[in-house]
Subunit: 474 residues, 2 copies
Amino acid sequence: MEKIPNIYEDFSEWYQYVTLKAELADYGPVKGTMIHRPYGFALWKQVQKVLGNMIEEDEVEDVYFPMFIPYSFLAAEKEHVEGFAPEVAMVTQAGGEKLDEPLVVRPTSETIMYKTFPNWIHSYRDLPLKINQWCNIVRWEKRTVMYMRTSEFLWQEGHTAHATREGAVEDVMESAKRYNRFLREYMAVPGYMGYKTEGEKFAGADFTVTIEALVRNKKALQIATSHLLGQNFAKAFNISFLDENNQTQHVWQTSWGFSTRALGGMLGAHGDEKGLVLPPRMAPIQIIIVPIFRTEEDRVVVANYLAGVEEMFKNAKIRFKTDWGTGTPGWKFNQWEMKGVPLRLEVGKREAEAKQLSFSTRLGKKVGYAMESQVYKEIELLLEEIQAEIFRNAENFLLENTVDISSEKELVEAMESGKAMYRAFFKDDTKRAKELQEKYKITPRVIPFDTIDQRGPDFITGEEGVPTIFAKAY
Amino acid sequence: MEKIPNIYEDFSEWYQYVTLKAELADYGPVKGTMIHRPYGFALWKQVQKVLGNMIEEDEVEDVYFPMFIPYSFLAAEKEHVEGFAPEVAMVTQAGGEKLDEPLVVRPTSETIMYKTFPNWIHSYRDLPLKINQWCNIVRWEKRTVMYMRTSEFLWQEGHTAHATREGAVEDVMESAKRYNRFLREYMAVPGYMGYKTEGEKFAGADFTVTIEALVRNKKALQIATSHLLGQNFAKAFNISFLDENNQTQHVWQTSWGFSTRALGGMLGAHGDEKGLVLPPRMAPIQIIIVPIFRTEEDRVVVANYLAGVEEMFKNAKIRFKTDWGTGTPGWKFNQWEMKGVPLRLEVGKREAEAKQLSFSTRLGKKVGYAMESQVYKEIELLLEEIQAEIFRNAENFLLENTVDISSEKELVEAMESGKAMYRAFFKDDTKRAKELQEKYKITPRVIPFDTIDQRGPDFITGEEGVPTIFAKAY
């Protein structure tokens, strides 16, 4: 086996190596695009299933809107078009003819959806309107970083309309909490949840709530965002309703999205020198079984024993695979470790005859059980322990790399000491944020909710500020 | 309530009316596009769930390939580009710049997938390769017929590569049978399964297997197609493998797809003068509960009784909704009938006090049960009976409208008598098929498998022919 690039010394090389060699993805032929292979796409299917259920449970209904948006729609909301125009792809020819108006391939669906909302919303009885779609999105990129940065990516986008600002704000918070729960409980990705600064919020929003995670290369990754759109789009698209007093009012809106980029965050948050580390709740294969034998006679003994083990895993709905391939056991161990499988079960003649189950966890522990009908419960617990351990490791990494600073000097020291996230009192100011970005390549990532009530002197100007986390962004 | 257009006299008006009024869909802003609303999109979600499971069970793995295809890829297989070039949409600008090579928005993914296959296929051990993707597809249309004909539609496309022609043929047949099973058992849509003629097969295929259904307007609708691609693309894209004797060979390929068009077939096959008729296995709402009361006191009695009924439905995983809306019961009955809900439960004070369940089926039967803990089993059976009845009605319609003809004179008579599908011995000949199309607006739709062994004189030339079904196509 080739040597895996060192994750700590050259994260980019490591990341590219594992995404390709673990057969998660391939580069697409057009710059900026990627191919989701079965092992990698299974991760997205798990997102669709679990996060999709959470969204459905909150009474959001799935829809599908067209991908092509007339350019004039995009232009209807001023900030929105300024934000997205530079990165759109445009269809100018179709059916052998030049089109009268170019069509934008959706960079997000606010405009096309909201153009239709006036047909659906008439009275307060039609509110709240809560819809969601899973689809592909195009924002032009010339450089591909698998999952993290691709011209075409997959996501879900939720869009809601409410009678009151309070209703809309509540929905934004519900959405952010749902994302945070999914990230923590399934992807084992901890992050700081809070507001985006003015300069970093969504184009056309009143405010944006984000979750900022930390990748192994010590760069912050903005994962899921939820926006309070206020009445900006409602006014641009004339979305109004008759309230209970028969008065016409504009609706209050939200939108929120979770994309394949989050998979990049998950892969980058948990990897190690052996390759990927997949949290059991996300892993397409939770247990890889490696049969070990030299003679045909031994192979039969192992296979007979495994039949019962596989039956048990199957009934318990544990996702497993038995690798009967031609490689040596050692090669297989490396391969499946690189692919991030949480548990490995090694079965030779000795284990078969003794009816033993000898596991190795991806994090390096050995655990053995006697094979009996209820042992799958122990194995399920073991998988949950691995899940928790992966989360703890990522959380420790996040906390160890976050440092409080109270002056520019401390910022420089923190950067030199290798810390990644710098928490400082900051008075939000887009111009000053830009200056910091030019000088230190850092940007204000998030104003965390858990310290939102604190106030103190801005770490540079001394004006009253609020705790804000700065970091280099992905 | 407005009057529903007559399905028998003006199917197009009826179809447009019900798709809009039942809130299945809306027109999109760009010509040829449609918006899938929650009630309609739920039908597609059911396809994805059930057909998706069937595909997974046959060991096909889900993937996702980029939507943008360099024009040069499309041009690599001669027949393929001739077939698709006239209807593609092209991105010529992106990220503020004119692109060097225009990008085709996928009209199907053969070329972009097969360009990658040589990276994945090296030896016979890598075969068969079986992948599938659910995605959006663009084929330019200027006229929208909801589901049936839209510029952008949704589908799944399966692609497989095999070591032998036999392996590929077997896969084509498995795919067609899977589609037919889903159509019959879930969508309650019967059809003729068989080969496409040379002139109607997929651009780049050796042969195409289709299922042709019949819509209420007596037009044939090609629903699902499965193609034997042979080695045509393998040669164009150089997809080869080392066989067991260490010889290099080209792979044998298949592709097969099932799209949102099938939903149009289902809606059009079962509708009646009251609106949609949805088969229970597909219906987003299987039972609509209409509470009937005049006083607040009665409302409470009904609501208390319904709590237990709803609990039972929920536990039995029956999809139901209770309409507490403001309309009159009569208005609600019409509304939910128009929306095609298979079963209606009317509950007034009398039913509540007598603990009765009084159902009306969408097909006009009344059925009553006593409310007791196991009665959901009877209701499940009732839903299955409705499913079977809907299928039988559609099958009778198909059979009644199919007629054997043995001469051009009989064809004219059959057309005049209002029959829809004309079965004749035909010696496949693209030029003659075109002449028949010009003269009678009919095309050869399918050479059915169930009569594939029969031979007889061509209904016009007298040459040896095989039973072929002609019809006007959607």
